[in-house]
């Protein structure tokens, strides 16, 4: 009986072994290591040596204008796209839930960006917004209809570039939000709506007093994941502005990490680690704040 138990123990660990090897090697060890890196001053990746231990890496990153630019860009992106995309997704999902004809078609279309390569469609967006010697591009054509423009959204002024980045980000994150909200709306018991209708509740009031409270947990879930996702924005920016984001003034925190690691200014894993940990700290704090707000406001 005892031997049997031992055999069972062994078998359990055996089944777990591959997963533990992979995770240990590529997650647990790196997780410890990134903290070590971030405190090792003057680390040289070629010789794998360093001078001392301290907070210099953090201080360097926090004083690096590129990092501050990336921080600013990321915050602007988060502040604009998270509320905007959530509201827009809410609007679309509510519309989608109220129809029956063509519903599946709309749902399928809305989901397309999720399965499309971000880099690939980003290139299309770039072309739509870019102004070249040959053409002002489609976006400027539209602006011209309103008697404005032309503006180069890709190599032009900061606000124009930020506009495209936000626009594209919203376009990319919508499928997920619409999907989640549509299924949240579908799970609200239809009899609540019937009860409200019999009582003569106006559609707006139904939305505010019934729909919104009932799906509030999902909305908060989307806000939290939206914040996390937006803080980690990177490939959308690369798709629009190319890999040299610092030059384009469009870098993000994650972009900064990768640039420090490898790229035009690369080879500084210590700075990259410090920046990554700072990012993690920001995301973690904001998630905690979100959670505490949601505890107060999410109904039941």
């Amino acid at each position: 009986m005892r031997g049997d138990k031992k055999a069972n123990n062994l078998k359990g660990w055996l089944y777990l072994l591959p997963a533990m090897l992979f995770l240990g090697f590529f997650m647990v060890y790196p997780l410890v290591d990134v903290f070590v890196y971030s405190f090792e001053e003057g680390y040289n990746s070629a010789s794998q040596t360093y001078f001392g231990v301290g907070l210099y890496n953090y201080s360097y990153v926090l004083h690096d204008p590129y990092f501050l630019q990336a921080l600013k860009n990321t915050f602007i992106l988060v502040v604009i796209t998270v509320p905007l995309s959530t509201l827009l997704a809410l609007l679309i999902s509510v519309g989608l839930s109220s129809i029956s004809k063509l519903k599946e078609l709309y749902q399928t279309v809305y989901f397309l960006p999720y399965v499309t390569n971000t880099l690939a469609v980003g290139l299309v967006f770039m072309i739509l917004f870019k102004r070249t010697a040959y053409t002002d591009g489609l976006a400027n054509l539209v602006l011209a209809w309103f008697g404005r423009g032309p503006v180069d959204f890709i190599d032009g002024p900061y606000w124009a570039k930020m506009f495209v980045l936000c626009f594209y980000t919203v376009w990319v994150v919508m499928p997920f939000k619409v999907l989640i909200l549509t299924s949240a709306l579908a799970s609200v018991d239809q009899t609540y709506y019937n009860a409200a209708k019999v009582d003569g509740t106006s559609p707006f009031r139904i939305f505010r007093k019934i729909t919104l409270p009932m799906i509030s947990p999902m909305i908060f879930y989307l806000v939290i994941t939206g914040f996390i996702g937006a803080f980690k924005a990177y490939s959308d920016a690369v798709a629009l502005f190319g890999t040299n984001l610092n030059a384009a003034e469009m870098n993000t925190i994650v972009g900064y990490v990768y640039d420090m690691l490898y790229g035009d200014s690369g080879g500084y894993p210590s700075y990259a680690s410090a920046a990554a940990i700072l990012l993690f700290a920001v995301v973690f704090t904001i998630t905690l704040i979100n959670l505490s707000i949601s505890k107060k406001n999410v109904h039941y």
């Binding site: 009582d199 106006s202 007093k209 039941y300």
Partner: protein, 375 residues
Amino acid sequence: MKVVLQHLTKKFPSRNRKVNDEVIAVNDFDFEIPDGKLIGLLGPSGCGKSTCLNLISGLLTPTSGRILFGDDDVTDLPPENRGVGLVFQNYALYPHLTVRQNIQFPLQNLKGADRPSREEMDRRALEAAKLVQIEGLMDRKPGEMSGGQQQRVAIARAVVKMPRVLLLDEPLSNLDARLRLQTREEIRRIQRETGITTVFVTHDQEEAMSISDMIVVMKDGVVHQIDQPQNVYDDPVDLFVAKFLGTPPINVFEGAVRGGRLYIGDEDVLDVPGADDRAVWVGIRPEGFVLKPDGRFTCGLDRVEVMGRDISVVCHHPAATADQIRAIISAENRAGATGQAVRFDLKPRKVHLFDRESEARVPFDGPRAPMDEVK
């Protein structure tokens, strides 16, 4: 407010998209619900009773026919303009609102001159809560209440705006047996106190019989009978109604009428003057049997169950459609319920004949009331 249904029909497209036919959930309903009465819509599940309720509430629009509240034609009116209160099977209480907020919800929807003041809303909510005796629970949320309490809140929410018609969809089906008895008396009381014309839907015949002023028996979208509960029980118009009402259920036999006499098997069991010769279904209520050593109807005896005041004689007969026949006899008359076989006489008022083909009632005249008293 009397409610009139005129040739009301509701068709749904078939679930199966390949077959291009329709389901007729409500077929040509044409009856009147008198003012201030409690009406039960009774039928097996899928008979169209909930559809009928939703047509009256306005959540569904009929395919054809009209609905009148008093003299107002409300057929095309949206639910909010009909002045109906609706209690849902699962209560549909808003889980994030307190009892008070739930009850006040319909009042807060009112606009302009109709909208009561804050105090008036509080007063009316409290009044409605008192009516259903939950005034002590006003600040609870639905999740913190029992099923019976939730049911009361749902009723309070439906009556708080003083509806012209109150509709209840299977109001008791989510309650346990004891609460069900209690709550149905409660519904009766509330209806009496408010005098609101009330329609409720149920598949439970006992429930319908016990509290309704009138019941509508339906099946497959067709109304079979509309009458007071006792009349429906005593004079069912067809075999379905006879079988659907009554516990224990009516016993059904194959039989035939020949020369004014009813035969089950070879036995001539009852005189049925006035009935034409034909093959019939014979329905005999459990209380329609009288034990008699020289009775005209012989059955094989299985066992005798004592149920207190009454005894239940369980027997069998080759012509019966069910394996068992159940006769309810008062306990002092139990002599004779021994041995292999048992002999009965039948009470003519408890025997109903139905045409073998159409299943419609076949009337016969006879000494009704006096024979009934034979013990």
